[in-house]
């Protein structure tokens, strides 16, 4: 289970993500970021398998892993002009989380996200027992 919503922020974009576990939190945050970069790009019927990339995230504090994951995908999006959907969390080997991710080329983006920030970063367990975090994007 995962969901995201955008909250007001003076100059940038604040994303609230709630999920049942950490991997779902990564998926939810990615969906939120993709909704900003190119709305509904992951929902179209075009082949999603145009670019396949692997991301290795060394195990560390989970909030840092979240930001590293989003920044890595953002970088891949910018370099390959693609939207990366459907992450597959392959292995947690040697304390490294390996993520295979499929991207589809797009002709342009809706929003120019400069980076995913560490601002006020925290992952908490909310009253419903779900993981919850706020992510600020510099746009």
């Amino acid at each position: 289970m995962r969901k995201y919503q955008f909250l007001p922020h003076m100059a940038d974009v604040k994303l609230k993500v709630t999920a049942s576990d950490f991997l779902e939190l990564l998926r939810g945050a990615l969906e939120g970021m993709n909704a900003l970069i190119k709305k509904d790009a992951c929902k179209t019927n075009e082949s999603p398998r145009e670019v396949i990339k692997k991301i290795n995230l060394p195990a560390q504090e989970k909030s840092l892993m979240l930001i590293d994951f989003l920044n890595e995908v953002l970088t891949l999006s910018q370099i390959h002009h693609a939207i990366f959907c459907r992450p597959q969390f392959k292995t947690l080997k040697n304390r490294t989380l390996t993520i295979q991710i499929w991207g589809k080329k797009v002709s342009g983006f809706d929003e120019d996200i400069k980076a995913v920030t560490y601002h006020d970063l925290n992952i908490i367990k909310n009253k419903q027992g779900l993981l919850e975090t706020l992510v600020v994007f510099d746009i």
Binding site: P8, A11, D12, I67, Q78, G108, F109, Y118, D120
Partner: protein, 483 residues
């Protein structure tokens, strides 16, 4: 800890101070330049709490500063200035921001608006055609690996060497468009890939090219030195280091966040304020990479200058004359500078995040003509409103590490702006005011609506009244080109 106005000490009608003792963490006081009314607005967001965090950075010198265009950022407030001791004070990528050397350049024509007004529509269209803008749009120049490294080391001078400008252009750029200490090996492959096709592009957001006319001259003598006259047609170019700079900041934040506490014992209240000693290996590497990104930004504005000059010659059929640079200033940068602190000349690392260098008369870094009067400062307003040319002062050297504001400053979120105004309505309003507009998206136009920004006239009045910059000329837009 949320501040209230009564906790601030009034220094003058336009300056306020949070005393050092207000929080046990603050190492220096924090000063805010604002009118009483504007201060009340500033207190509504987290700007000043963020400024207090800046005042707690290891090695901070003298005072943490907020300019009148200050608004909440992440880590540092936007419109913040802080100097740390050299070489063992900290350098903080968050004190510079992701858009390293986002800045502004002013080009002067020798033409009066009355002679050119029939060309403005075509000129706006031609600039939109020549200067790629918008999200993800690349430019005509795609750099090979070696060429990229040369651009990162040499900045604007590489562009001039390759025909994208004249040698005299370099004299009118802060640091001559080349920050020393740049080392391309400190820039990741990802960063270079993000920047590979982005030279000569403005991007999106608040970046733009604008055609303006000089509406009012406040200081005839300085205007003459700057080559400005009433009615003159000028151009503003506002953009930065694009994806390359964003990636440099991301890469080094990631590295520093891991070593800051275990290796250097530094703790900060917001991870976006992450920092390391300037003299540490991570600090040196970041500074070298940041200098590369700053150079890339100057090369970018140089390439756009070339594109604007091409558009000018095309539309005026070669009869427009030259477009000379008045000046090019950085808004987001860290520099090693010498300033007087407690009566002693001292080297410091000046972080300017959403702030402009404002060196006063006599500064050795300025070219001879400017050394007599002070450095030109270019303050863009929001879309459709006035912009200003100011001059740096001796008082800025004494009070603000030679710095002043950088623009109008946001007062409303992008989302709220879009709720309050539609892009098409704004487009019509600008057209009614006689401003020609070329924009990649109506949504982007709405996000940058003037109502989303503070009143630039007020912001400039504050720095003028405070004496940290003096008004020289006011510009009004006649053409706007946005991504």
């Amino acid at each position: 800890m949320k501040l209230s106005k009564k906790e601030l000490k009034k220094i003058s009608d336009v300056s306020w101070e949070i005393p050092k003792g207000f929080s046990e963490f603050m190492k220096v006081p924090a000063r805010i330049y604002a009118t009483s009314d504007a201060l009340e607005d500033i207190l509504k967001d987290q700007s000043l709490e963020q400024l207090m965090n800046v005042a707690a950075l290891p090695g901070i010198e003298k005072v943490a500063l907020a300019m009148p265009d200050v608004h909440e950022g992440y880590g540092f407030p936007i419109g913040g200035v802080a100097a740390t001791s050299y070489p063992d004070g900290v350098i903080s990528p968050g004190g510079i921001g992701f858009d390293i050397n986002c800045g502004i350049r002013l080009l002067k024509s020798s033409k009066h608006i009355d002679k050119i007004k029939d060309y403005i529509e075509n000129l706006t269209q031609e600039i939109y055609r020549q200067v790629p803008s918008g999200v993800g749009r690349g430019g005509a120049l795609r750099l090979k690996t070696k060429e990229m490294d040369h651009v990162l080391e040499q900045g604007a001078s590489w562009m001039v060497k390759h025909g994208y400008g004249q040698p005299e252009d370099l004299d009118d750029i802060e640091s001559k468009g080349q920050l020393l200490g740049a080392n391309p090996r400190c820039v990741s492959l990802h960063a270079k890939q993000r920047g590979q096709d982005q030279l000569g592009t403005i991007g999106a957001g608040n970046h733009f090219v604008e055609i303006d006319s000089v509406d009012q001259i406040y200081n005839e003598e300085v205007a003459r030195v700057f080559g400005l006259f009433s009615g003159q047609l000028v151009f503003l170019i506002h953009t930065g280091s694009r994806g390359l700079g964003h990636q440099v900041c991301t890469d080094y934040l990631r590295e520093m966040v891991r070593v800051m506490k275990p290796r250097y014992g530094i703790d900060v209240p917001d991870r976006q304020l992450v920092c390391v000693p300037f003299s540490s290996q991570e600090g040196k590497n970041y500074f070298s990479a940041m200098a590369c990104a700053a150079n890339f930004a100057w090369a970018n504005r140089q390439m756009i200058t070339w594109e604007v000059r091409e558009a000018w010659q095309t539309v005026l059929k070669g009869n427009g004359g030259d477009l000379a640079i008045l000046y090019d200033v950085a808004h987001n940068i860290a520099k090693v500078e010498e300033h007087e602190i407690e009566g002693q000349k001292k080297k410091v690392i000046v972080h300017r995040k959403g702030a402009t260098r404002a060196f006063g008369p006599g500064h050795p870094e300025l070219k001879e003509t400017f050394r007599k009067v002070g450095q030109p400062i270019i303050i863009p307003g929001s879309m459709g409103t006035a912009s200003y040319v100011l001059v740096g002062t001796t008082q800025a050297m004494e009070e603000t590490f030679g710095s002043c504001c950088h623009g109008a400053g946001r007062r409303m979120s992008r989302r709220q702006a879009k709720r309050e105004v539609t892009g098409s309505k704004l487009y019509d309003e600008l057209r009614k005011k006689g401003i020609s507009v070329q924009a990649g998206s109506m949504r982007g136009l709405a996000e940058e609506a003037p109502l989303a920004y503070k009143d630039v006239d007020q912001v400039v009045r504050v720095v003028h009244q405070a004496g940290i910059a003096k008004k020289v000329a006011r510009l009004v837009p006649v053409g706007v080109i946005k991504g």
